[in-house]
Amino acid sequence: MAEQFDDPKQEHEASTLGMWVFLGTEILFFGVLFAGYIVYRFIYPEAFAEASRHTNIVLGTINTALLLTSSLTMALAVRSIQLGKNRLTAGLLLLTSLLGMIFIGIKGFEYYEEYKKQLVPGLNFTYEGPHVPQVRLFFYLYFVMTGVHALHLIIGSLAAMTIAVMAWRKSFSARYFTPVELTGLYWHFVDIIWIFLYPFLYLVSRA
């Protein structure tokens, strides 16, 4: 226990509150992007619908499924550490992290495809058809939003891996598992953001 605290309970409560406040700031971070998206979606509905048809819905859906599964394995990891099962927790955390990495891999492949289709604003954007600037705006938002999300997922995967190693070394117990719990909170947060990104970016015109 760190010396500024009176007892482990206080430490646990403080760390948890700290994480929640931090996640609050994260929501506002994404909030700017969502606000921008909503404004332009409202101003240019047709262009956005059209642009979203160029995203890869199959891969997007697979990725959504992957993330939901990873949320489950993460929840199981938190549950199992509360029962003191360090080894099982380590396995579940590794699995979670792996699912995250696969997500990133698929996302990378999607980006590559979009690059080939010349949809990356600022690099090679060329688009035939109406509403060129607005379609470009959509893809600009698409890359920034999914990019910032992917960055969070990479950080989350690395954190899950680190915690997995600690669990493997039996650093936690049924009485002390704050880091696992906090990593779990962060992971679920990143998932929830995707739950919003997916319909916004992939399903606009298909709904």
């Binding site: 403080a14 700290g18 606000a35 600037p133 920034v144």
Partner: protein, 535 residues
């Protein structure tokens, strides 16, 4: 714990004298002093830019610097003063030092994060100063698009990175304060026994975590727009510059409360202490702090009256801006009522605090002019606005900051500063301040626009007064630097409570020991249990 705290107590300063012991410390009090050093440095750099500007404006023709250079100076001044002085000054120096002491905790909840915040602050500063040395930026501190994102050919990105990094420093400090105040109060210290300084820092921290991410992301978008020449703010690309302004002011109006709420907290502490009376209407003061924090989020559009937002939006924002005046007026009223029939003594901190109240009132009342739609159309972007926000920010925040430094100096350093010098400096600053900024109300009213490096002959007299005032003010600001440093060596040794003040921070030795208290204090009384002296 604290086995080394015998009668000859070992203070946090004695925990190590090497540079390394300071740069790797986790003690909130040492981190506060690290901040004090860097923030003071930035204050004087920002001040130097202001000096050049007032020198240029001392005469009517633009003969000292070119208009382009002048643009770079006011940008540097604004960026440094806002992000590297006003926002971090009271929370990071005084808050860091006092929040744990005032609530009876051994340290902040996350000491490592606290040290990391200071490093982020320094790193952000290096980026910004680097960009300024490398040629400067001419966008103004508001980075309005599309000028900042497409046209300006100066070091916009480096400065944005600097501001982005320093933003994270304030987010981390704020998280630390929120958690500490929630979870680490001494037994018996209920929310309504907290000193108002704690309330103020709590509300400020909430604003910081809610507003700063918005700024960080918005500025990132500007940087991306600049680098890739695609964007969401440039109308030529399908974007909307008004969106930038909304997002920017959504942060930057609340940011003015980040600057002024902690100042109100400091003023409250000082005023009750030197009038020997409990603060009048304690609960109302706490509610007013919350009220200002909440309403502060709803008024950003008053910076955009002439931007082309819809007329109805303008009317709404005008109305809401008037509402902020209510909790602010409550505070001024309660300070006055606290003073009434108190046994007032005019030590230097008190002079600063009274100066704060006066200047804040002046700034607030002129804010009402600006919040009136029709008047603002005449006054916007003139020197009237400059005078208004300098009264609030410089007259308010800086006065309170200096007052706080004097008030808690014995606690921080264990030494008393020379009282007469303190009073003298406070008076010089007050006089210099009014001489500098009062003429600017008139200038603005006469139509002198902001951000110009020359002006017609008729405005010479008022501008001359203003520049002369700036010189007086500069002297006033430099004085404390000398006598405070002097006092570190030659000042009288202070006991634990030289002002006979209430509050937990005075119940531990000056300077305090590493873990703050030898044993956790237990609180049995309300805040500010002063009793007036019968004469």
């Amino acid at each position: 714990m604290n086995t080394n705290a015998g009668p000859q107590h070992r203070s946090y300063i004695d925990e190590g004298y090497s540079l390394k012991s300071w740069l790797t410390t986790h003690d909130h009090k040492r981190i506060a002093l690290l901040y004090m050093v860097s923030i003071t440095l930035f204050f004087f750099i920002g001040g130097a830019a202001a000096t050049i500007m007032r020198l240029e404006l001392a005469t009517a023709p633009g003969d000292l610097v070119t208009s382009q250079t002048y643009n770079k100076f006011f940008t540097a001044h604004g960026v440094i003063m806002v992000w590297f002085f006003l926002i971090p000054s009271i929370p990071n120096v005084m808050g860091n030092f006092l929040v744990p002491l005032m609530i009876g905790a051994r340290d902040l909840a996350f000491p490592r994060l606290n040290l990391a915040s200071w490093y982020l602050y320094t790193l952000g500063g290096i980026f910004t100063i680097g960009a300024l040395i490398a040629g400067g930026v001419d966008t103004g501190w508001t980075f309005y698009t599309p000028y900042s994102s497409m046209f300006s050919n100066t070091n916009v990105i480096a400065v944005i990175i600097g501001v982005f990094i320093v933003g994270f420093s304030s987010i981390f400090t704020a998280i630390n304060f929120i958690v500490t105040i929630h979870k680490m109060r001494a037994p018996g210290l209920t929310w309504f026994r907290l000193p108002l300084f704690i309330w103020a820092n709590y509300a400020t921290s909430v604003i910081m975590v809610m507003a700063t991410p918005v700024l960080a992301m918005t500025l990132s978008l500007v940087a991306i727009e600049r680098i890739f020449q695609v964007g969401i703010f440039d109308p030529a690309l399908g974007g909307d510059p008004l969106l930038f302004q909304h997002l920017f002011w959504f942060y930057s109006h609340p940011a003015v409360y980040i600057m002024v709420l902690p100042a109100m907290g400091v003023a409250s502490e000082i005023i009750t202490c030197f009038s020997r009376k409990p603060i009048f209407g304690y609960r109302f003061m706490a509610y007013a702090i919350i009220g200002i924090a909440v309403i502060g989020f709803l008024v950003w559009g008053h910076h955009m009256f002439v931007s082309g937002q819809s007329m109805y939006a303008g009317m709404m924002f005008s109305l809401l801006s008037f509402l902020v005046a209510i909790p602010s007026a409550i505070k001024v009223f309660n300070w006055t009522a606290t003073l009434y029939k108190g046994s007032i003594s005019f030590e230097a901190p008190m002079l600063y605090a009274l100066g704060f109240v006066g200047l804040f009132m002046m700034g607030g009342l002129t804010g009402l002019f600006l919040a009136s739609l029709a008047l603002d159309v005449h006054l916007t972007d003139t020197y009237f606005v400059i005078a208004h926000f300098h009264y609030i920010m410089v007259g308010g925040s800086v006065m309170a900051y200096l007052g706080g430094i004097h008030y808690w100096w014995p606690k921080m350093s264990g030494r008393l500063y020379p009282e007469n010098w303190g009073r003298f400096a406070a008076i010089v600053i007050f006089v210099g301040f009014n001489l500098t900024f009062f003429p600017q109300f008139l200038l603005g009213y006469l139509g002198m626009p902001r951000r110009y490096h020359q002006y017609p002959e008729e405005l010479q007299l008022l501008n001359g007064l203003s520049s002369a005032g700036a010189a007086v003010l500069a002297v006033g600001y430099i004085l404390p630097l000398f006598y405070l440093l002097w006092s570190l060596r030659y000042g009288k040794v202070s006991d634990s409570n030289p002002w006979k003040a209430k509050g937990l921070e005075w119940k531990t030795p000056s300077p305090p020991i590493k873990g703050n208290f030898e044993e956790t204090p237990i609180v049995k009384e309300e805040a500010y249990a002063y009793s007036p002296q019968k004469s």
